[in-house]
Symmetry: C2
Subunit: 117 residues, 2 copies
DNA sequence: CACCATATTCACCAAACGGTTAACTTAACC
DNA sequence: GGTTAAGTTAACCGTTTGGTGAATATGGTG
């Protein structure tokens, strides 16, 4: 049933809560990159970016190669899948059973490009 | 294409980063509830729970009825869908093109019980 | 080896977070 | 209309977070 530890889930969501870190992940989705490359788009110092990468690494959203210059960073997919799964589970519950009428109401109420599947 | 403002996404993920708030959402997936009902399972004071609800409300993950005793809380699905969509987009990028080999590697590597509970 | 660019660690800081207790509001019910 | 239970607001406290600059480590290359 792929039950994920609460603490891991918390670290993942906390990591995703920062726009800089989300941008880094978006960049890494296109392929491996070094710290300097990842830092380039942002108006902040290298240590700041390095910290963000540590947060992402502790959340197991990324993985890093050897230490030192040109250190490579790459995306790890599993935790993102875990988090996505948690949301899907919530949605499954609320879309069936008791919450169902509520869900229908909400959907008709805010009629804006809701993509369900 | 349902492009979601960065700030909203940050608020949603930040709200989801706390286990208490995730538990509250899980409870609300089963149906509407009052603050006292939501607070019951937790070893913390009412004001603490009230704060958590405010965070969820600012993130537009929940909605609350009239103020005062018996105040009803209910789930709002849209932001959860937005966040899920953001993850799906990341995944789509990394699963195609450059990141593809990486993804295959990860999946075969993690093939055995990486999901603890 | 020495050099150099890359990256991390080390204080340090201000602001935000998660919790508390105490005081105040709000709505319902005799 | 007063009492009372349910929620919120206010003030406060310790910890975490996101950033800085300065110092330190790492590894490829002349």
């Amino acid at each position: 049933m792929a039950v994920v530890a609460q603490e891991e889930l918390s670290r993942v969501f906390a990591a995703l809560a920062d726009p800089t870190r989300r941008a880094i992940l978006a960049r890494l989705a296109h392929g491996e990159a070094t710290v300097a490359e990842l830092a380039a788009p942002f108006a902040m110092t290298l240590p700041a970016v390095s910290k963000h990468l540590s947060v992402l690494e502790r959340a197991e959203l990324i993985e890093r190669g050897r230490r030192g210059p040109g250190r490579p960073c790459r995306l790890l997919p599993q935790r993102l899948r875990d988090a996505e799964g948690w949301m899907r589970d919530r949605r499954a519950f609320w879309e069936t059973g008791f919450g169902r009428i509520q869900a229908r109401l909400d959907e008709t109420a805010d009629e804006e490009g809701t993509d369900d599947e």
